[in-house]
Symmetry: C2
Subunit: 152 residues, 2 copies
DNA sequence: TCCGGGAAGTACCAATTTCAACTATTTTCA
DNA sequence: TGAAAATAGTTGAAATTGGTACTTCCCGGA
């Protein structure tokens, strides 16, 4: 016998969907209109920038950005065409390859980051009290690790 | 001067992204493998089923499901081809049209709903305490209405 | 050493989504 | 009244995404 969601639960669930969808859409819009980057591009730039040597194996990048291998491959291909990243072979494991941040990619990130962060603040962080935001984060953390324990 | 996110804030924000992405992906997988429906299909079926006459104007449906008009049009087209919905002209406003739930669409919803709800429970609701879930919902509600006040 | 299974990445194909035009109708208001 | 502007919805092409097959390479065991 199915145990349905109560009206409250349903409401919470829908708010979750709505909040994420609107937020993502809004941030994407800002980023795209002002810098020609998508959120996906941005996330990749961030991840690469955080890594020593500003380069990372494709599979690691895929895991971190929660993208399928196929999708990441396409994505990096586009970014490579745009001059934001390069591909380099991996000498230790010759099957593998690295995505590396180019100078232009770094510059694009530096330029876009303030806009993105400001968006996250105005649409998310500043809308909530410190403790509300913290609670949101904690809950999401639990949800994420319930589905995929390795996701941190 | 940009005010960057603190490490904690960043962590919360990333958890939010991760939780949504994994949850959505998981629910989609369940629904698709067991019933051949995507989440988008499902949402449309739900919205139509909740409406008197089980029919709704395209634009209202688009708003509720947070989809662009174009996307909804394609989507409904596919669902119509699959026999889940019908289109009907709107006599009051002859530009408009209704999407109406077919019997098959209703049956598909009835069949899929338990699976979907079970997924939402096991991956979201049951992972959190009542108050955590409530806090998540409340925070998301605030975020959503900060971006788009009409989104309820 | 050599084989078989598995991993990393890419390529191809089908499905979905977006963007920009386009048609048809309604609304506004001079 | 009768344009002009706005709205509802669709369409087709281009871009993105997802699934799967394929190629190349690594690794463990016989």
């Amino acid at each position: 016998m199915t145990k349905w969601l109560s009206a409250d639960e349903q409401q919470s669930w829908r708010s979750f969907i709505t909040a994420w969808t609107l937020l993502n859409h809004q941030l994407n819009l800002d980023l795209q209109s002002q810098h020609g980057l998508t959120i996906a591009d941005y996330e990749i730039l961030v991840r690469l920038s955080e890594t020593p040597g500003r380069r990372m194996r494709m599979s690691e990048l895929a895991e971190l950005t929660l993208a399928s291998r196929s999708r990441l491959s396409h994505q990096v291909g586009r970014m490579e065409a745009a001059g934001l990243v390069n591909r380099a072979e991996c000498t230790e494991d010759r099957r593998g390859s690295f995505a590396t941040l180019t100078e232009a990619g770094w510059q694009a990130l530096v330029a876009a980051a303030p806009v993105h962060v400001a968006g996250v603040r105005t649409h998310l962080v500043d809308v909530l009290t410190k403790s509300e935001f913290k609670a949101l984060g904690a809950a999401c953390q639990k949800v994420a690790s319930a589905i995929s324990p390795e996701s941190n």
